[in-house]
C-alpha cells in the first residue's frame, strides 16, 4: 500500500473520472456524490503523504519505478520530495473544493464537468510526482486537455477564443521543452530527471536548455510578457476552472523552475537571473497597476495572480544575488519564500475566485459596477470576502504575508532596490483589492437586484470556511509547512549554487 500510494493518487481520480462519465449526465446526483467521494478519498489518502513524509532527507520518497518504454530507457518513475509533496496536497485539497463549488451551479453536463476535474487532478499529481522527463511531459501536456474542455464547454460568452488561446500558448511553450528533454536524453542516455541533475553541460548547452525550459514555465506561471492568455482564460472559465488554473496550474510553472531550471542549468540560471528578475519585477509592479484599473472582478484577480506569481520567480532567481557564503540565509529565505508563496497563493486565489463565483451565480455579472453594498444583503459572505481580500493584500496573520515577506527579505539581500520595487506591491496590492472590496461590498446599494441577494448557503459557507481556516493557519503558524520543505530546499540551493562547468 505504502509503495503504491502515489500511483493510487494519480490513477484513482483518472479512472474514477472515467466511471463518472459512464454514469452519465442523466444520473447527475449520483455522479456528483461519486465525484465528491472520490475527491475526498484522494485528499485523505494524500494526507498520508504528509504523515509518512521524512523531512530529514532531500531524497525522493514514496518512489515507484518500473520500465515503461525500454526502447528509450523511459521509466514510470515517480516520487516526491519536500517541494512536490505540498503541491500535491494543494491539488487534492483544491479539487475537493472545486467539486463542491460546482455542485448545483453546473447544470450543463454535470457528470462530464466533475469527471474533467477528477481527471485533471490525477494528471496534475502526475506532473508533480514524475521523475522521468517523458512521463513529466506526458502529464504536463495531457493536463491541458481537460482544461481546454472545461473552458471551452462551460465557459462564458467568449470561451472559444479563450480556450484555444490558452491551449496554443501553453502548447507552444512546452514543445521547446520537449526538444531540450530529447537533447538531454541523447547526451545522457536517460530520461531520468534526477540523473540530469548531475549531467554536466557546457555553458552554451545550458543557455539553450535554460531558455527552452524558461519559455515553457514562463508561459505557465505566467510571466510578463507571455501572460496575456491568463486574463482571457480566467475570465471565461467557469469558477471551478479559474480556481484550478490559479491555484494549481500556475504552480506547475513555478515547480518547473524548482525541478528543472535551477538544478539542471545552474550556471545559465545564474547568468540570466537578472533578466528573470527584471521580468518578475515588471509582473509585480506593472501588472499590479494593470489590476488596479480593471472593471471585471475576475480579470482583476487574474492580474493580481500574475503579480503574486511574480514573487515566486523573483524569490527563485534572487537567490543568486542574495547568496553570501557568510550569511546563506538570505538566498535560502527567498527560495523558501517562493515555495510558501506558491502554496499560499493557491489558497488565496482559489478563495478569491470562489468569492466572485458566489456573486456570479446570483447575478450573472462579473462587473464591479453591478454590485455595491453587498454587505447589506450578504453579511456572512462579506466577512469571508474581506478576509480573503486582506490575505490577497498580504496582511500579516494571513498566509499571503508569509511568502511575500520571506521573498522580500531575500530580495533585500540581493539588491535593496529590488526589494523596494517588490514592496510596492503591498501598497498596490492593497489598493486594488481593497478598492474592489469597497466598491462591491460596502457603501449603499445602487443596484436593486443586490438587495434581494440571498446570503451564502451551507455548502458555500463550508467551502469558504475551510479556505479561511487554511489561509489563517498558514499565516499564523507556517512552521510545519516550512519544515517539510526545508531539507529539499537546502539541497536545491546547493545544486543551484554548484557550477556544472
Amino acid at each position: 500500500m505504502q509503495n503504491m500510494l502515489l500511483s493510487l493518487l494519480i490513477w484513482l481520480p483518472i479512472l474514477g473520472g472515467g466511471l463518472v462519465i459512464l454514469l452519465g449526465n442523466e444520473r447527475a446526483t449520483m455522479a456528483r456524490w461519486m465525484s465528491l467521494a472520490i475527491a475526498i478519498l484522494v485528499f485523505v489518502m494524500s494526507l498520508s503523504l504528509w504523515t509518512g513524509f521524512d523531512s530529514s532527507t532531500h531524497l525522493m520518497q514514496f518512489v515507484e519505478k518500473s520500465a515503461w518504454i525500454t526502447q528509450f530507457n523511459i521509466n514510470y518513475h515517480i516520487g516526491v520530495d519536500g517541494i512536490s509533496m505540498p503541491l500535491i496536497i494543494l491539488t487534492t485539497f483544491s479539487t475537493v473544493l472545486v467539486i463542491g463549488a460546482g455542485w448545483e451551479v453546473i447544470q450543463k453536463r454535470p457528470a462530464h464537468y466533475m469527471a474533467a476535474f477528477l481527471m485533471m487532478e490525477g494528471l496534475i499529481i502526475g506532473v508533480f510526482s514524475a521523475l522521468d522527463g517523458i512521463l513529466f511531459y506526458t502529464f504536463w501536456e495531457a493536463s491541458l486537455i481537460p482544461m481546454l474542455l472545461i473552458v471551452g464547454i462551460w465557459g462564458g460568452d467568449n470561451r472559444i477564443y479563450a480556450a484555444i488561446k490558452f491551449f496554443l500558448y501553453t502548447f507552444l511553450g512546452s514543445v521547446f521543452m520537449l526538444i531540450s528533454l530529447i537533447y538531454m536524453y541523447n547526451k545522457s542516455g536517460s530520461f531520468s530527471i534526477l540523473a540530469w541533475h548531475d549531467l554536466s553541460l557546457t555553458a552554451t548547452e545550458q543557455a539553450w536548455i535554460f531558455w527552452a525550459f524558461f519559455v515553457a514555465f514562463a508561459v505557465k506561471v505566467p510571466m510578463f510578457p507571455v501572460h496575456t492568455w491568463l486574463p482571457d482564460a480566467h475570465v471565461q472559465a467557469p469558477t471551478g476552472g479559474s480556481v484550478i488554473l490559479a491555484a494549481i496550474m500556475l504552480k506547475m510553472g513555478g515547480y518547473g523552475f524548482f525541478r528543472f531550471s535551477l538544478p539542471i542549468t545552474p550556471d545559465a540560471s545564474l547568468q540570466f537571473s537578472d533578466v528573470v528578475i527584471v521580468l518578475s519585477l515588471i509582473a509585480v509592479v506593472y501588472i499590479g497597476f494593470v489590476a488596479l484599473v480593471q472593471r471585471d472582478m475576475k480579470k482583476l484577480i487574474a492580474y493580481s495572480s500574475i503579480s503574486h506569481m511574480g514573487f515566486v520567480t523573483l524569490g527563485v532567481f534572487a537567490l543568486f544575488l542574495a547568496y553570501d557564503p557568510q550569511a546563506p540565509e538570505g538566498a535560502f529565505l527567498g527560495l523558501e519564500g517562493a515555495m510558501v508563496q506558491m502554496i499560499s497563493h493557491g489558497f488565496i486565489s482559489a478563495a478569491m475566485f470562489l468569492v466572485v463565483g458566489v456573486l456570479y451565480d446570483r447575478l450573472h455579472s462579473r462587473e464591479i459596477s453591478t454590485y455595491g453594498g453587498v454587505i447589506n444583503s450578504m453579511p456572512k459572505f462579506t466577512g469571508f470576502a474581506v478576509l480573503f481580500a486582506m490575505a490577497n493584500a498580504g496582511l500579516p496573520g494571513t498566509s499571503g504575508f508569509v511568502g511575500e515577506f520571506m521573498v522580500i527579505l531575500g530580495a533585500v539581500q540581493a539588491n535593496i532596490w529590488y526589494a523596494v520595487l517588490a514592496t510596492t506591491t503591498l501598497i498596490v496590492g492593497a489598493a486594488y483589492t481593497l478598492w474592489m472590496v469597497k466598491r462591491v461590498f460596502w457603501g449603499a446599494i445602487t443596484n436593486p437586484a443586490v438587495e434581494t441577494l440571498d446570503d451564502i448557503n451551507g455548502r458555500e459557507f463550508s467551502i469558504l470556511a475551510i479556505l479561511a481556516l487554511a489561509v489563517l493557519v498558514i499565516g499564523l503558524y507556517p512552521q510545519p509547512m516550512i519544515e517539510v520543505m526545508h531539507t529539499s530546499i537546502e539541497h536545491l540551493l546547493n545544486q543551484a549554487l554548484t557550477s556544472k562547468l
Binding site: I69, E141, A142, I164, F167, F171, L172, Y183
Partner: protein
C-alpha cells in the same frame, strides 16, 4: 540475372500470400457475376475473408530469413511480412467502414471490392518488389485500380474530376519514376535491387557514373514523393481527397501510404543506400516544405476531407524527416510514424463515414457542431484522433513524433526539430477547430448515427487503440526498429 532463374516450388511458399490473394480475386470476380442484387454483400464478406487469410499467411512468414526468389525480383524479409500484415489489417478496417458508406450512397458494387483487392495485390508486390520492374509493376497495379475506384461514383462530377486529376498527375509521376529507373538501369546495367546496390557501393565509380546515378535518383525521389504526397508534389492530394467518395479517400489515405514507404525503402535504402547523403538532403527539403505547407494551408480549410489531406501532407513530412536522418533507427522511426499515422487516419475518416447518410456527406467542419451532445462516445473518438494528430501525449501521435524528433536531434539537426515542432503547434490550431465544432458549439440539427454495429465496434476499438498504443508503445517501437 534472368538466366539464374529456376522454378522452385519452395519459392511458391514464399509468395503464398500474393498467390492466394490473386486466386481469391479471380474467384470473387467470377462469383460476383452470378450474384444477384440482394446477395451483393456476399462479395464483401468473401473479400474480408480473403484479406484475413492473406494476412494470416503473411503473419506466418514473419521470422523467415531473407529470401529472394523469382530470379531476384521478389524478396521476403520481415519488413515485407510485417508491412503486409499491417496492410491487410488496415484494409480490412477500411472495408468495414466503407461498406456503411457504400450502402448509404448506393455505391455497393462487386467491382468495388475486386478493385480494392487488386490494388492491395499491387501494394503487396510493391512491398516485396526487389527489382525495378516488379516495383513498377506493383505501383501500376495499385494506381490503375485506384483511378477506377475513384471514378466508381460515376455520376458525381467531383469524383470524375478527382479521378482524372489523379490519373493525369499519377501518369506523369509514373513516367518520371520510370525515367529515373531507366537512368539507374542504364548506368548500373541491372534491374535488380541487390546488384544496383553492389554497383552503387563499389569504390571505383567514376564521376560520370555518379552523375548519372544522381540524375536517376532525383527522378526516383520525385516519383516516391508524388506517391506519398510530399510538397511540392502534393497538388493532387487535396483535390483527390475531397473529390473522391469518402470510402475511397479513406483507402487512399491509409494503405497505399504503407506501400509507398516500402517502395521508398526498397529503392533508396536497399538499392541506392550508397547515395544516402544525396537523397537525405532531398528528403530534408521535401520534409520541411511538407510540414510547413501542410500546416499552414490547412488553417484555411472548411472541408474536413481537404483539411485531413493537408494534415496528411504534414504527417508525410515527418515520415520523410525520419528517412532524411540516414540512419537505421531513423528509418525505424519513420516506419513507426507511418503505422501510427495509418491508425489515426483510419479513425478520422471512420468518424466521417460514421455520420454519413443518404445525401449527407458530413464533410464540412460545421457538420460536426454539437456532436459531443448527440454522440458523446464518437465525439470522444474524434477528439482522441485530433489530439493525437496534433502530437499530444498520451496518444500514439505524440510517441511517433517523439521518435522522429529524437532521431533528428541525435543527428545534430536541432534547427530542423525546432521548425518541425513549431509547425506542429500551428497545425494544432486546425485540429482544435474540429474539437471546437464538436464540443464548444451547438447546433439545432440532430446528428444521428445509424451505422451498423460492426462499424461502431471496429471504430471504437480503432479509437481506443490510439490511446492504448500510446500508453504502451514499447512493443510497437521495438517492432518498427527491428525491421531494418
Amino acid at each position: 540475372m534472368i538466366n539464374t532463374f529456376q522454378f522452385d516450388t519452395a519459392a511458391l511458399m514464399i509468395a503464398l500470400p500474393e498467390i492466394f490473394l490473386l486466386s481469391a480475386i479471380v474467384v470473387v470476380l467470377l462469383l460476383d457475376l452470378f450474384l444477384t442484387k440482394p446477395f451483393k454483400q456476399v462479395t464483401y464478406y468473401l473479400m474480408q475473408l480473403s484479406l484475413l487469410i492473406t494476412g494470416i499467411l503473411s503473419f506466418n512468414l514473419i521470422g523467415q530469413p531473407e529470401t529472394i526468389i523469382f530470379g531476384h525480383s521478389f524478396v521476403l524479409d520481415d519488413l515485407a511480412s510485417v508491412f503486409k500484415v499491417f496492410m491487410m489489417a488496415a484494409a480490412m478496417v477500411t472495408m468495414v467502414y466503407s461498406r456503411h458508406y457504400l450502402l448509404q450512397h448506393a455505391l455497393l458494387k462487386g467491382e468495388y471490392f475486386v478493385l480494392v483487392m487488386l490494388s492491395i495485390l499491387g501494394m503487396m508486390v510493391m512491398v516485396s518488389g526487389y527489382s525495378l520492374l516488379t516495383l513498377y509493376l506493383g505501383l501500376e497495379i495499385l494506381s490503375l485500380s485506384l483511378y477506377t475506384l475513384i471514378a466508381i461514383a460515376r455520376n458525381r462530377a467531383s469524383a470524375i474530376e478527382a479521378a482524372l486529376k489523379y490519373f493525369v498527375l499519377g501518369a506523369i509521376a509514373s513516367g518520371l519514376l520510370l525515367y529515373g529507373m531507366s537512368m539507374v538501369y542504364g548506368i548500373s546495367g541491372s534491374l535488380n535491387i541487390a546488384e544496383i546496390a553492389t554497383f552503387a557501393n563499389s569504390a571505383e565509380l567514376v564521376s560520370r557514373e555518379v552523375l548519372v546515378l544522381n540524375f536517376g535518383l532525383v527522378f526516383l525521389v520525385i516519383g516516391i514523393a508524388f506517391k506519398l504526397g510530399a510538397v511540392p508534389f502534393h497538388m493532387w492530394v487535396p483535390d483527390v481527397y475531397q473529390g473522391s467518395p469518402t470510402s475511397v479517400t479513406l483507402f487512399i489515405s491509409t494503405v497505399p501510404k504503407i506501400a509507398a514507404v516500402a517502395m521508398l525503402v526498397r529503392l533508396l535504402v536497399d538499392g541506392l543506400g550508397a547515395m544516402q547523403p544525396y537523397w537525405s538532403d532531398l528528403f530534408m527539403v521535401l520534409a520541411i516544405l511538407s510540414i510547413a505547407i501542410g500546416s499552414i494551408v490547412a488553417l484555411m480549410q472548411t472541408n474536413i476531407k481537404r483539411l485531413l489531406a493537408y494534415s496528411t501532407i504534414s504527417h508525410v513530412g515527418f515520415v520523410l524527416l525520419g528517412f532524411s536522418t540516414g540512419v537505421i533507427s531513423g528509418y525505424g522511426a519513420a516506419v513507426f510514424y507511418i503505422l501510427a499515422y495509418v491508425l489515426m487516419s483510419l479513425a478520422a475518416f471512420g468518424v466521417i463515414i460514421l455520420l454519413n447518410k443518404k445525401g449527407f456527406e458530413a464533410d464540412l467542419i460545421s457538420d460536426y457542431k454539437g456532436l459531443s451532445k448527440h454522440s458523446p462516445w464518437f465525439a470522444l473518438m474524434m477528439l482522441i484522433v485530433m489530439l493525437s494528430m496534433a502530437g499530444m501525449p498520451p496518444f500514439i501521435g505524440f510517441y511517433a513524433k517523439l521518435l522522429i524528433l529524437q532521431q533528428v536531434i541525435s543527428s545534430g539537426m536541432i534547427t530542423v526539430a525546432i521548425i518541425a515542432v513549431v509547425f506542429a503547434v500551428i497545425s494544432a490550431y486546425y485540429y482544435l477547430q474540429i474539437i471546437k465544432s464538436m464540443y464548444f458549439e451547438d447546433s439545432d440539427k440532430e446528428i444521428t448515427v445509424n451505422a451498423p454495429m460492426d462499424m461502431k465496434l471496429v471504430l471504437s476499438i480503432n479509437g481506443v487503440l490510439i490511446l492504448v498504443v500510446g500508453l504502451f508503445p514499447d512493443f510497437w517501437m521495438k517492432l518498427a526498429l527491428s525491421l531494418f
